[in-house]
């Protein structure tokens, strides 16, 4: 059943919130300052409850079905994490309350900074960035500030063709021009390609590792050395850290900055597009450039220390997405070092199992041992005029959220599958079975696939008209 828009249900005079007791006198403001009451819809409590209950029923979440979006790490979001973040002492805390009233939160964050630095193999962490892309921006600003401090700013940054789109966008915000580095026929960066491009006008390189093909950059250490020799820095996009927790540390490979997506690797919910959290860890020499404030501990306990002279400044109004940090902290405490390593082992096992099970059915972009995800293409279906988009939509009819499609750009018609460690063999076998069936349908009944999805409430939506004649509010 269609759910009407809120204002289609509105009727003047209804109100769905409890109005608090007015126990003081009314003090009218100067009428010149006062506007009309905002034209919000008028509903009563059950209206609103039903509206959002019904809307929720049209969404797929991790709790509803497997959600193998490549590069998004849609793993199970443990309920206990939400319970921890909702504790009144945390949820009702004012960020500017006196430090003696804030010790628990400060201690938690200080400890979490240490955990993330340890996982990265780096010296220090800031929890301030609000999301992965915000972490990238913070990292690039630090690199920018580092070069500025060293007396000569640089103009370029190396970015592989397999990078997330956020990488060049973040670099551009710091005034850097991205230089595209083509990956090899094996799907990886080569030291040669980097050496050819790296010069002393280049601030550094942004590397996603494992990369967006799901492959581990085998020559990473050598590449880092090349960049360092020219005075550059290595930025690590940690979106894919779920593959290597306790297996390998970015710092040990020579990276200088790395960001985390807590809502990917550390199991906090994605919320239909956030809020996320994108802490970054840095090596020793970059610590002075971290944004302020920082959390310090002295004999009076924990407190915020304002930024030092070399700090890039402030990235967010208050110190990070605390509610998300609580969840990530709870997750790390729940798993411990052995559990985190197990997470990566099983995430990689699941991806390799899918890769091996489907490589005879779908065209595998790069047939190598993968990490946490694997990328197929629609090459085999193209003769039947069935595209990756068609297969993705058809997968909905089999009860799965589609994988990431048409990314990375280096694979034509990419179908990027990341199962994560929290999907069981049975569920994965179901996905494999569905994709095999769809490949068969593409051969025998391509119209069925092209007209998918058939089961969701909506058929395919017209995104072209939406963009051509935008209607952004009702």
């Amino acid at each position: 059943f269609k759910e009407p828009l809120l204002w289609e249900k509105s009727k003047p005079g209804r109100c769905g919130i409890s109005i608090p007791l007015a126990d003081v006198e009314v003090s009218p403001l100067d009428p010149d300052l006062v506007g009309e009451a905002p034209e919000l819809p008028e509903l009563y409590e059950l209206d609103v409850v039903r509206h959002y209950t019904r809307l929720s029923q049209w969404n797929i979440g991790i709790d509803s079905a497997m959600y193998p979006l490549g590069s998004c790490t849609m793993k199970y979001n443990p309920k206990t994490n939400d319970v921890q973040a909702a504790r009144i002492g945390f949820a009702a805390a004012h960020p500017l309350a006196d430090p003696d009233l804030s010790q628990g939160a400060l201690e938690l964050m200080h400890t979490l900074e240490g955990f993330l630095a340890e996982i990265a193999g780096m010296a220090a962490t800031t929890l301030q960035p609000a999301a992965g892309a915000h972490g990238e921006l913070t990292g690039m600003m630090i690199i920018h500030a580092y070069h500025a401090k060293n007396g000569r700013q640089r103009t370029k940054i190396l970015i592989p063709d397999t990078a997330h789109g956020t990488n060049p966008a973040s670099a551009a915000l710091c005034g850097y021009s991205p230089v595209n580095i083509t990956s090899s026929e094996l799907g990886m960066l080569t030291p040669k390609a980097v050496a050819d491009a790296m010069d002393e006008d280049t601030a550094g390189i942004m590397i996603t590792n494992p990369n967006t093909l799901g492959l581990f950059e085998e020559d990473l250490k050598e590449i880092c050395d090349i960049v360092h020799q020219k005075g550059g820095l290595v930025y690590g996009d940690g979106a894919n850290m779920n593959a290597v927790l306790g297996i390998v540390r970015p710092g040990d490979l020579g990276m200088d900055v790395v960001h985390y997506n807590l809502h990917k690797t550390f199991s906090t919910p994605h919320g239909g597009g956030g809020p996320g959290s994108g802490p970054i860890s840095v090596v020793e020499k970059l610590v002075p450039f971290l944004p302020g404030p920082r959390i310090v501990k002295d004999d009076k306990g924990f407190s915020f220390k304002e930024k030092g002279p070399d700090s890039i400044g402030r990235m967010l109004t208050f110190y990070g997405h605390f509610g998300i940090l609580v969840r990530a902290y709870a997750y790390i405490r729940s798993l411990g070092p052995d559990g985190l390593k197990r997470v990566s082992q099983l995430a990689v096992l699941n991806a390799n199992y899918i890769k091996e099970s489907l490589k005879d059915t779908l065209d595998l972009a790069y047939d190598r041992p993968c990490m946490h995800e694997c990328v197929f293409s629609d090459k085999g279906q193209a003769p039947h005029k069935v595209t990756t988009l068609d297969m993705a939509k058809r997968l909905m009819d089999y009860g799965f959220h589609p994988p990431t499609i048409y990314f990375p750009l280096v694979v034509h018609g990419a179908l990027m599958i990341e199962p994560t460690e929290t999907e069981s063999k049975e569920t994965i076998d179901g996905l494999i079975h569905a994709l095999k069936a769809i490949a068969e349908e593409a051969r025998t009944n391509p119209d069925l696939v092209r007209s998918a999805p058939h089961l969701p409430k909506m058929q395919r939506l017209d995104e072209v008209t939406a963009a051509r004649k935008p209607c952004l509010c009702g």
Binding site: V83, P168, G271, I312, M315, I324, L472
Partner: protein, 443 residues
């Protein structure tokens, strides 16, 4: 571990399909010498119940654990959140979904965000709004970058010094590497912005906050006139969204861009985050705004539905030419704010805003009766500044320990000229009795 499904047999079977012998074999592509040999130096795993005890100990050490009354706003506000909202936003179909790239299975998120966008434009009197940003500070920085991109004849923007100090820090941080600069407009004695600097200065945009950091309501009509005379974009921001339940909205003053903080709209304070960045503008800036939009469209059967739209502005298509690098935003909080506005509606929003104002007027009068001095004679919404007397600091400590009350925010760290001035806030959550206690104890 209860989150991990793999039985030993599963692992054996799956390894055999991949042709490997052990889980370690999966990582042979990583040069051996770089592989971590020892377990990470992290504390061992805790069971769920030990975790509960540990976290309650941490949370319990917070002032907020004991029903404290923190009479501080300054960008984070204590408001009532309906229990129905908390329930609805916790439904896993909302919380555990990803960005709605696949609209056929994401109509719930999409319609909810579309409604949020619509209600924000109604609240602010603007044409359009994005799906959300991180917080007001980052949204305001993005707004200034838009102005700088639009007006390329200058690389400077003007920002009122009464914009939240942390927001100004963010702006500086964002502008510096891009080679832009910001001029801070000083303060009038009455607690509003002094625009006289602009007589001799060309800027791409002018940003004020209203009510400003000192709680004073700015004269937005005046800002509009000055911005127009400079051909600069008129940007206004706010940290207390409920103010626009009562005040004339920015749209009615002709604002080009509005950046705001939506935390007051049903989102827990949560030690400062995640909040909700709001960015709203006139229609002609639609393609200049960063971040996501949800738009209305139809499906192949002609049924109305919703999709993410205008993505061609965004980083995953435009890469370095994108208007911003924003990707994940604060979607679930936008959904919560939409719910809050749906629960309150036209009538409730106005009533709660009025109560906020009434409480603040009451508190100010009570504190003045107790001997604190008024600092500025401008209208305010729910925050105001008072000058304190000798001995206030000790009384403030006593209030904290004996009454779980925090008597305002010391402004000196933010405005050295305002030593001995405190910023107070009252909202609907404070009772008359709370405020009377506060006033009695600071006397």
């Amino acid at each position: 571990m209860r989150y991990l499904p793999h039985t030993d047999q599963d692992i054996r079977e799956m390894l055999s399909v991949t042709g490997m012998d052990s889980l370690e074999d999966l990582f042979t592509v990583i040069p051996e010498k770089f592989r971590v040999r020892e377990p990470l130096d992290l504390p061992p795993a805790m069971d769920e119940w030990a975790l509960n005890d540990h976290m309650e100990a941490l949370a319990g050490s917070m002032g907020a654990a004991s029903r404290s009354r923190v009479f501080i706003g300054a960008g984070s506000y204590s408001h009532h959140i309906p229990s129905a909202l908390s329930y609805l936003i916790g439904r896993s179909e909302f919380a555990t979904a990803y960005t709605p790239y696949q609209p056929e299975v994401s109509q719930g998120t999409l319609q909810g965000i579309y409604e949020f966008q619509s209600m924000i434009t109604a609240l602010l009197g603007m044409d359009i709004a994005t799906a959300s940003h991180y917080d007001c500070g980052t949204a305001l920085a993005e707004a200034l970058l838009i102005a700088l991109r639009k007006n390329k004849q200058t690389r400077t923007v003007a920002v009122s010094s009464l914009v939240h100090p942390f927001h100004r820090e963010i702006i500086k941080t964002y502008l510096t590497p891009a080679g832009y600069s910001m001029v801070e407009l000083p303060q009038n004695p009455d607690g509003t912005t002094d625009f006289s600097l602009l007589d001799t200065l060309d800027v791409a945009g002018i940003a004020v906050q209203s009510p400003n950091f000192l709680g004073c309501i700015e004269d937005l009509a005046r800002v509009k006139a000055i911005a127009d005379s400079k051909k600069a974009l008129f940007i206004t921001s706010f940290t207390e969204a409920l103010a626009y339940g009562l005040l004339k909205n920015p749209g009615s003053f002709g604002a080009d861009l509005v950046a705001g903080e939506g935390q007051s709209l049903g989102i827990p304070q949560s030690f400062g985050g995640p909040g909700l960045g709001i960015l709203s503008s006139t229609k002609n800036l639609m393609r200049a705004l960063p971040g996501r939009y949800v738009g209305k469209t139809t499906d192949m059967a002609g049924e109305p539905g919703f999709v993410l739209t205008l993505a061609t502005r965004e980083q995953h298509i435009k890469r370095e030419k994108a208007s911003s690098n924003i990707c994940s935003n604060n979607g679930l909080n936008a959904m919560a704010a939409g719910m809050y506005m749906a629960f309150t509606g036209r009538v409730g929003m106005r009533k709660i805003a009025q109560i906020n104002h009434d409480k603040a007027v009451f508190l100010k009068a009570a504190l003045q009766d107790a001997g604190l001095e008024p600092a500025f004679d401008r209208p305010f919404f729910n925050e105001f500044v008072l000058k304190v007397n000798d001995g206030f600091r000790e009384k403030r400590e006593t209030l904290k320990t004996r009454f779980n009350m925090v008597a305002g925010l010391d402004l000196e760290p933010y405005y050295p000229a305002l030593a001995n001035h405190y910023l107070f806030c009252a909202t609907e959550v404070f009772s008359r009795q709370d405020m009377e206690t506060l006033a009695r104890e600071v006397k």
